[in-house]
Symmetry: D2
Subunit: 339 residues, 4 copies
């Protein structure tokens, strides 16, 4: 950690900062520049509140040197975290395909969709029983009934299921049904919920918040890891920018960047990431090409009848093509030892 003193900071203020740093267990190195004094503080910065130091008189700013996440960092754990779901492994170099409709809209429709997902060659089945919606007037999900339908679909197709948990109240219920518990972008910094996820024995798929930095995202993962659950899967789903032609801006550079900073597996959701059906396949290919551990794709047998996210949903045939091509691309990359 580096403490930069203001241009006109007094010796007394300097002493006060040094005292505080010593008190907090830091070793201190002073560099007196032409205009400013900077202090290198060596020690354990995790427990220290950087902004508290910044409030000391005479301090201009505090600069962190080490990353604030620890358990999530590759420095802490150099080898990849590999998460087993049924017969599939996330994080071992394979490309896991998760697909399904945005929401469970009814038993018959969902089972039809589940079979289409199975037939298209996907590895896991997605679907929402609890739906976070911007408008209180939009369809909010079937709740436990939706979870039961998903469980039946798993029974029939053999596909493990991924579904979103929205709050603490339904945690036990969702954990009981889900094979992977998804935390949506809006809940990425719902810290009390993250802590509760530490004690479940199911993997957590943590979507990136729509305006979360990569550091904040990894800190959110740190909450879950620190609370005792090592099975965290990250998922890039687009960030909010000024661009309006797409629903979000899919930040694919997050994939290789997170894989460098962290040992956790990273998925990509090109459906929410773009919001447009015709962009899903090219972005899925791009994600497969830059090292994603898997994809999560919205599919609906009849997108025009979907109660949510129709415009970004593929039809079964498109999903089938997408999976074939992405897996083909991944295989040819691995043959060439590119990734």
């Amino acid at each position: 950690m580096v403490v930069v003193m203001q241009a006109g900071a007094s010796e007394e203020q300097l002493l006060q900062v040094e005292d505080r740093l010593h008190h907090d267990g830091f070793k201190v190195h002073l560099s007196r520049g032409a205009n400013r004094i900077i202090i290198g503080a060596i020690g354990n910065t995790e427990q220290v509140d950087r902004r508290a130091l910044e409030a000391l008189p005479g301090v201009e700013k505090i600069i962190s040197i080490t990353r604030p996440f620890k358990l999530a960092s590759r420095e802490f754990q150099p080898e990849n975290t590999i998460i087993q779901i049924g017969d599939h492994c996330l994080g071992d170099g394979s490309l896991i395909m998760i697909a399904g409709p945005c929401a469970v809209e009814g038993r018959e429709k969902y089972l039809q969709a589940a079979w289409a997902v199975k037939k298209a060659g996907a590895d896991l089945l997605r679907g929402g029983a609890f739906k976070p919606r911007t408008s209180p007037y939009s369809f909010q999900g079937l709740g436990e009934e939706g979870l039961k339908i998903m469980a039946e679909a798993r029974e029939l197709t053999g596909l493990p299921i991924v579904t979103e948990l929205m709050d603490q109240k339904s945690l036990d219920m969702v954990v009981e049904y889900a094979d992977i518990v998804q935390i949506g972008a809006r809940n990425m910094q719902n810290f009390l919920l993250l802590k509760d996820l530490g004690s479940i024995n199911k993997p957590v798929l943590l979507k990136r918040g729509m305006s979360a930095t990569i550091e904040e995202w990894l800190m959110a993962a740190e909450y879950i890891l620190m609370s005792g659950n090592p099975q965290v899967i990250l998922c890039e789903r687009g960030i909010r920018t000024f661009e309006t032609y797409t629903r979000n801006t899919l930040d694919l550079s997050a994939v290789p960047l997170v894989k460098e900073l962290s040992h956790l597996p990273v998925l990509v959701d090109p459906s929410h990431g773009t919001g447009k059906r015709e962009l899903v396949a090219p972005m899925a290919m791009a994600a497969a090409a830059c090292g994603a551990d898997g994809l999560i794709i919205e599919m609906h047998p009849h997108p025009e009848e979907a109660w949510s996210d129709g415009p970004q949903s593929l039809v079964p045939e498109q999903l089938s093509h997408l999976i074939k091509h992405c897996q083909g691309l991944r295989r040819s990359l691995q043959a060439g030892e590119v990734i």
Copy 2:
């Protein structure tokens, strides 16, 4: 609502869209342009999922004409919502000053701060017993003990208290102690929590999410209103942009804009909005000048000892000046009938 058909849309696709609109209870007007057909759909758009229509074959996009919020809109309720807190009224043209430390850090320190807030002339007292923190290693608040200390401070100073609720589990507890229940930026789209707030009999201070559009913010208010609680106070606290010299970018234009679109009172938090002590007073003045119904200001008797947000906290003397000047400015504006 306007449905724009794709350039090459077929008559059959057009018919399908018209059928769907009729089925959803809309009256339909067709305009055939040189390149495109557009359909004006007249009816109640609140219950309709715009993106579902967008998924129909041949549809290029759906354009909303009316705002998606209803109960929160000034069209629905032309006169200001006025919320009474003790002797003070939010929304009646006065400028309500809320101040206090970021977090309750201990009984003695908080009571000292509360007296300083009182002495500085503030109307309400703030403080956090539950703190949402980016890092799991940072101080997370004293919990119920903090609430009890706040209640004691209210007892002693007579100032009503504002404190943050982070989750459903502690809702009853927080509602019991608080005079105003604050929902932080990260929970602005925690929809199930918003619904639960519909049944409490305390006003809710709803902070704008850090990347929330004004429309999304008003839709979040709509969740609370629709669930039965008419006492919603909005609070602009800065949005996330590319600028790094400030912690957030305080969007003051949100104040007159929201007051035009909605009848709900709007506060401004220049402390979080800028993250820098030296910017708090000028931005507070600006907020008072553009019509805010109140301000929420971080103050700490010893910011350099604060466990959070020290750099943006004023000392008591600064708070006292700020309140005097902001109230003076507001009075001189009202004398001149500017606002």
Copy 3:
């Protein structure tokens, strides 16, 4: 175009808008909704200033239906624009590789770099003689001397050269030397310069502005096309967002989106787009996978001695690998008929 009248607009205001629209050559369709009247205006919207109409009394907003670009649109020209540079074609499905150092720093160093680029298998050579730099104290390029060195490098290696034009004054000079004239992100909306480019007989590589929407980018291309030069190449180079771990956020979804909206070829610059050497190869692969017509890659024989952009420059061996893998990926995609 759709004109939305305010909720309380008078019949007189409505008439005034209709008159104005008729006067501007539009046919007018009226839809009277429950709360608002909307007017469908059919005619040529290109010549109409949307914001002028928005200023009419009683008008709430104007909504464009058709895209504002014409010459750049795929509706205007369905087939791809193909641009021939030496033996290479941009826009015909092949993947053109452009590489070289950020700046020409001296004859010997540049020629060494040029040979490395040639040997790595790139198709074109890049290099900057005029460098836009945030700081006036940074190296600003060698000017014409730099162009002469580039021309010599072309002579020796046979590689056509791409270099940036910064202003009107040096237009003739740059056009004389360059095979492709690059317009940097900061000049994307330098409209008078864009107009001047209409009369040159060299292709223009138009980088996306760092906060330009896709619509603004295509409108900038429209300036060049409208001024008489049909050879415009677009280049995505990252947009500005809140994320700080990367220099910019590379918006790869722009590639398939622009290819859908426009007939112009699209390149990707993963070097500026990420600012980090270790992200260049994965993002290059992703760009190749989602349909880019080419890549522009910074390479420096000794990045640690580069006067600019060292951290994002590959060494020759890395470039060689990248080209091999990207071309391999593209070939395998084409064999599978994915793109």
Copy 4:
């Protein structure tokens, strides 16, 4: 400047960095932390390319300690730069009001507007003869004819004139007519144009780029200052964010921040900053309250006939009110010694 070495950096890499720093004239301080070595480099950082150092093997990142601008900084010049325009002073604590139509649309209309500006009590007259427009099909300005009309308006009303310069070609012409030369947001980083402005003897009004950080903005000012022109006026005009209800997000915190960092005067343009007429007055008041040195306001006698920016233009009566109220607010603040 602080150089942070990678976690696994070798002693040899460390030596190489130290050598390079010594060679560049720096004194070097080493701090060996638990995981990383950091190097404090003391010396003149202005001439050093930070990213070149970042490219050295073993270097993780470079952290700047001092601000990169010098001539623009308040450390360099503690007292305010005061710029005299006719009888008015920018930067001396007064509030200078600049008003007028977006574009000069014709002699009669402009003279009428100029008299309205005069009558409303403004200090300077604005108007565009060269208009940067997103669309090549929009009105681009009258060119020199427009400048002549503006000069005539000055002659008649006695108001000095502010007008935009778009390129080097018309520099002499614009400088001849203008009292203040405006550089628009899109040209803020047109570095060669900025350099040319160093040699003119007229003040330059430098608008903030729509995605420019405050640092980049001050660096752009540095270009002009370094080239010999000390008369630079900054102007905040809104930045680009995700919000769509406003045209831009007016960043008023930039006003006190820039006044702390720099000695240059700062104006605010609430017309472009919001894009909505009804927000102009409240934001003008807010700007006056937080210390702006002046305002630049769009006014049009008949906004519904304006060829550009009608929706954000005030009518003369509104301008008159705004000026009266803003000046009243400023006087009452100065009486109370608030700012």
